[in-house]
């Protein structure tokens, strides 16, 4: 069992609180991504799990066992650094052997396991090279292989793919998934790339300013963001967030967008849950791909807007709409037929709306 529990985990560097009262349970054999912008505390969290940093408060349990007194070299975690930290004075083989040697593994066993790992990582013909001659992609493979070869139950990866070229990054993603399958480790993966996180992880923990924002499956995090930060951070282009006022115009729910007009809301279910917040300032959120563009005068909820900019980005077209002081992005199929300056109506389909409290940014009406 190698579940990881973080309990009230806090790390302070002087006045700066890098990680603030973090509680997280990472079940055994799961692949969890720590996601957030730089400086959000994700690497610090990772370092604390590994034992490179000691928490200021709180505790870390591996499989229920408190790790406080266990030094880093006894925690048996695999760790892949962002810059790989390859031992440049050694050959590839020596790098791969390192973890096994210091554990005192038998020579023949070392040879076998290194061979296996080299096969797996396709590093066979590089084994006796000096690492200074390797490409970045190969260094990455050595770094992962070097940690994996000791078969740790917990595997931590600190932005391992950020230095790679796009094609190899995609390849490595599948490789990593593969690897986790093979070795059945508990994997913690630090990234600031939400696509990477969503494609790889079983669960995503979104962090910001040292605080846990949301923890859940990629689906949950994407579709039910707990707050504007998560909503904004996940997805590309990110969710449209429009400050507005929730009114109770004539018994019906409506959103007052000020100079952009008012829109009724059809989503009765959501509104019911928003009852308490009537006549309050809120943030209305909707993912770009959820918004419909319709001719005006069609009587569905939405606001009249004008096409201000059309952005064809390969597989999709992003249409920028604006009205008054508001502007939104709408994602459509490629070659979506629309003209600049067209007067359209942005429609907000039922069941896709998100309402956040304007002040706290927390989602309103989530179950």
């Amino acid at each position: 069992m190698a579940s990881i529990e973080l309990i009230n985990l806090t790390k302070k560097f002087g006045d700066l609180t890098a990680v603030n009262d973090l509680n997280l349970v990472i079940p055994d054999k799961e692949f969890v991504a720590l996601l957030g912008p730089s400086g959000c505390g994700k690497t610090t969290t990772m370092n604390m799990i590994a034992g490179i940093e000691m928490p200021s408060e709180g505790s870390i349990l591996f499989g229920g066992e408190d790790m406080r007194t266990i030094p880093a070299n006894k925690r048996d975690v695999g760790f892949v650094f962002q810059n790989y930290a390859i031992f440049t004075h050694m050959t590839v083989r020596k790098n791969l052997e390192f973890g096994l040697k210091v554990r005192g593994v038998e020579k023949s066993e070392i040879k076998r396991r290194v061979q296996n790992m080299a096969d797996l990582m396709r590093l066979n013909d590089r084994l006796d090279w000096r690492t200074s001659k390797l490409s970045v992609n190969e260094l990455q493979k050595v770094a992962i292989g070097r940690s994996a070869v000791t078969e740790p139950e917990i595997f931590l990866l600190d932005e391992p793919l950020s230095n790679l070229d796009a094609a190899f990054r995609a390849f490595m993603r599948t490789e990593l998934k593969h690897l986790q399958h093979e070795f059945q480790q508990t994997m913690v993966y630090v990234t600031h790339d939400q696509i990477e996180a969503m494609s790889l992880a079983d669960r995503i923990a979104v962090l910001d300013m040292g605080l846990l924002q949301q923890y859940g499956t990629p689906n949950e995090v994407y579709n039910k963001p707990h707050n504007t930060f998560v909503a904004n951070f996940m997805g590309s282009p990110s969710m449209n967030l429009l400050p507005c006022r929730l009114t109770n115009g004539g018994g019906d729910h409506a959103l007052d967008f000020g100079d952009a007009g008012t829109s009724m809301i059809e989503d009765g279910e959501l509104m019911r849950r928003c009852k308490l917040a009537r006549n309050a300032d809120v943030v209305f959120g909707m993912r770009p791909e959820d918004i419909d563009i319709q001719p005006r005068e069609v009587g569905r909820p939405g606001i009249d807007m004008e096409v201000s900019f059309v952005e064809p980005i390969g597989p999709r077209t992003v249409v920028h709409l604006s009205a008054g002081s508001h502007s939104i992005k709408v994602a459509k199929d490629k070659q979506y037929p629309i003209e600049l300056g067209a007067k359209v109506k942005a429609e907000f389909p039922k069941g896709r709306c998100h309402i956040f409290d304007a002040e706290s940014g927390n989602a309103i009406g989530l179950e």
Binding site: G51, I52, E53, M54, P71, A72, T88
Partner: protein, 286 residues
Amino acid sequence: MPKPLHSYIWRYALILIAVGLALLPVAWMATMAFKPHTEWVTSASDLHWWPHQETWGNFEYIFTGQTEAVTVSHERTAGKPILASLVTSLLGTLIAVVAGTLGAYAVSRFKVGGNLPLGVLQLRLFPPLAVMIPVMIMWAFLGAMDTWWGLSLIYGIVTLPFAFWLMKTFFDEVPREIEEAALVEGCSWFRVFWKVTLPMVKEALASTALFVFILNWSDYVIALLLTRKEWVTIPVYMNSLSSAMSGQMYGAKAALGLIAALPPVIFGIAIQKYLVRGLTFGALKQ
């Protein structure tokens, strides 16, 4: 890397011991400088740490040639030797560092200079006393005996190897790409050296200069043989601090030693932040 508390205790304990040992003779010197004559007679079986009667007499003696407790006044005072040491050590350092840096860059970059590297190495290899006879004769012939330039020149020469070899290892490590980029921009080689490469090794340059300065500053043998009166340096002058009355004047020597420690210490502290990085000898190719 987190460390358990007990490792800190161990570390501080060891560091305190090391610092204590390093300071022991320095502390002895510092207190000795304030001891009167009666408290430094080594055969009197009463050597103690703290002066029983603190006195500034030793400083007075080396700067004025006399002090109350010592009947015999001294012909020489420390003022001129301190000046002589400063002038010759600094000039010697300047000569060594300039010639060494230029030469090292040329050898490192352009592979010119032939046997220069080995030549300067040999210069440092063997005891200076073994070649001082011809040097003495040559200096006398040139009228360089007991002159500031004569002493500075020999200092520059004997410490040239250090400056050269240290700087060469640094230049070897400076990435060519940066220089090449500047060359492509149309800089001349010398401008590249002056404006691009030199600023990159300035930490190393500072450390090298300190090192060379300390070597020059500590010299005794060369100054002994190449000076007479006007440009006698501190270590040579120090040898004169003995009298028929009181034998070796340890107090005065300690007082002078204390003063003599100041320039290197000040220099060292001034470039302290460069010191560690500056002395890696470029050996840490990543």
